[in-house]
Symmetry: C2
């Protein structure tokens, strides 16, 4: 349990500490024999280099910081949180880095946590989740030239190392396909206006309609919180207002779509016969409900892995400044949509 240091090994192997250090870094200017000898002693004593001491002299701690404001996960729904963390953790380890995780109960606190990690030198770089309020923070980090990678998109500053999916394209493609299936009067149930994801997904909807030259009906665009209840209420209201004049609900998030599904059920409408429903994110619940919810799936885990990988590259490669990586999405067809008659 007591710390075995490089000195202990040196003494035991009857060499100097520097020799041991060289063995650790597998220096090639050291004889095979002493290498073996030292390695044996290391094994025998159970020696492991002290990461802290290393960090101090190397001025690098080999760890990445992940800071998440808790409101973010509420906004983005739970599974996102799980998968993104798993992805980041996996990517981090693959690069032989450690991951420091900090959560914050507000965006305000998020900035503080970030600054704390950075200034106390506990991490070599940061992974951040895009949100509507951390633009300032991101701006500062950019100015300071501090290594970081953004997951998602920040409205104002687009030339930033980040990994994201293309929400605009994903929705546009989905809507285009739905139109080709025969749907025409598509309600768009958006998330809150001030989220970039909301705006992007809505734009995809608009572009698809435009391209298909479908007349645009502003009343079909509706905003709600990213929640089941909000989706349910809004859909109920829409269903009673527009009756026969709608044939599909596009939920900007599965929760919204699930709420709409429930509203349709309550009204006695058959899905997909009377109304089609599609969501976004492929939450676990999407495959559990009945009928199964057609939805758009983001390979979230992969995004996390890519982010970690890119961050390490930024840290280690002097000349590399990062890039924008867009991960393709995929439509998961289930029973809540169908070819129209």
């Amino acid at each position: 349990m007591d710390q075995v240091t490089i000195k202990d090994v040196a003494k035991e192997a009857e060499v100097s500490p520097s020799t041991v250090s060289r063995v650790i870094s597998d220096s090639d200017q050291i004889s095979f024999q002493t290498k073996e000898k030292v390695k044996n002693v290391m094994k025998r004593l159970g020696y492991q280099p002290n990461a802290i001491a290393r960090s101090l002299v190397n001025q690098r701690c080999n760890s990445l910081g992940l800071v998440m404001a808790r409101p973010t996960d509420r906004a983005l729904a739970n599974p996102f949180f799980t998968d993104i963390i798993q992805g980041i953790a996996a990517g981090t380890q693959r690069e032989n880095y450690s991951l420091m995780l900090a959560t914050a109960e507000s965006y305000q606190r998020e900035s503080e946590e970030v600054l704390n990690l950075v200034k106390t030198r506990q991490v070599d770089g940061l992974i951040l989740m895009a949100s509507r309020t951390n633009g300032e923070l991101i701006n500062n980090l950019t100015k300071e030239n501090y290594p970081f990678v953004l997951i998602g998109r920040s409205q104002k500053y687009s030339e930033i190392p980040r990994v994201d999916n293309n929400n605009i394209k994903a929705v546009k493609d989905a809507v285009t396909t739905l139109l080709s299936l025969g749907y025409r009067d598509i309600v768009f149930l958006s998330g809150p206006k001030d989220f970039v994801v909301s705006q992007d997904r809505l734009q995809g909807y608009r572009e698809a309609l435009l391209e298909a030259e479908i007349p645009f009906r502003p009343e079909l665009i509706n905003y709600a919180d990213f929640s089941y209840e909000a989706g349910f209420k809004k859909a109920r209201q829409l269903f009673s207002n527009y009756q026969q004049n709608i044939d599909l609900v596009f939920g900007a998030d599965d929760l919204l779509a699930l709420g709409a599904l429930r509203a349709a059920e309550e009204r006695g409408w058959q899905v997909p016969e009377d109304i089609g429903i599609i969501g976004f994110n492929d939450t676990p619940a999407a495959s559990l409900v009945h009928p199964g919810l057609t939805t758009i799936k983001i390979p979230i885990k992969k995004m996390g892995e890519k982010a970690a990988q890119m961050l390490v590259k930024i840290i280690e490669e002097e000349s590399y400044q990062g890039e924008e990586i867009i991960i393709p999405t995929e439509i998961v067809w289930r029973e809540s949509t169908a070819q129209k008659e």
Copy 2:
């Protein structure tokens, strides 16, 4: 961006480095005036103590390690993962510690990750998730007297610092209440046999029946993977085998219960009229399905917080060796169960 050190502050404030150090630790043997003077300089230069350097001299890094095997989260379902991490993160921060997160793709790798964190001295203590295969690891840590806290229960070694819920009691209480509602022929849909949670929940079921002197029907106990599909298949089979001789399904996890719900629906059985269903964990989906699933809710986040808190106490208080903290559960009544006629 360049590191401001204690020396810079010292020079600027025209004192010695040790004085600055004393100001940082708010030593009381230092004059108010120099304290102020130094503090001002620190603020002006944007000084933050280097956590790494501190760790090296203090032989303590003020950070906790959380190691999770990814199979664990699959077994325990997603929301658990999210909440436990959030709870641990929150608790860790409240104690002014940092959190290092490592995930592993197997239990084998889990041990390696743990050992790595420990031996390289990157953390002062560990939070571990109980699983059927990490008994050895836990045993070793105990022998080494290394600070750790277990979340959940390890079969073999019970006298261990841990926080858990009482699965036996939770199920027993629920079943007892269900019996008082008029249910009698209760199917128990257990998770895999080798999980401690499975065994405990099953035992709760047994104890309740025993106490109520309900004759025991071994054929009503069934095992399945913790998954929706497994629950669905098993329930379908049970429903066709036992027809009128069952009136409730107790799923050892919500996913199992949700599968059973679906099986009932497929069969055209009304829930709760024809058959009652109850689950465990209160997954988000439990409130989204129709009828809403009655289930047992564990305050997971609080468990995480407690674990972090306790671990810090173990680390910091010489005499404190940890304890067993049992967090009470709560039954969430929804529409899938009802008072029987």
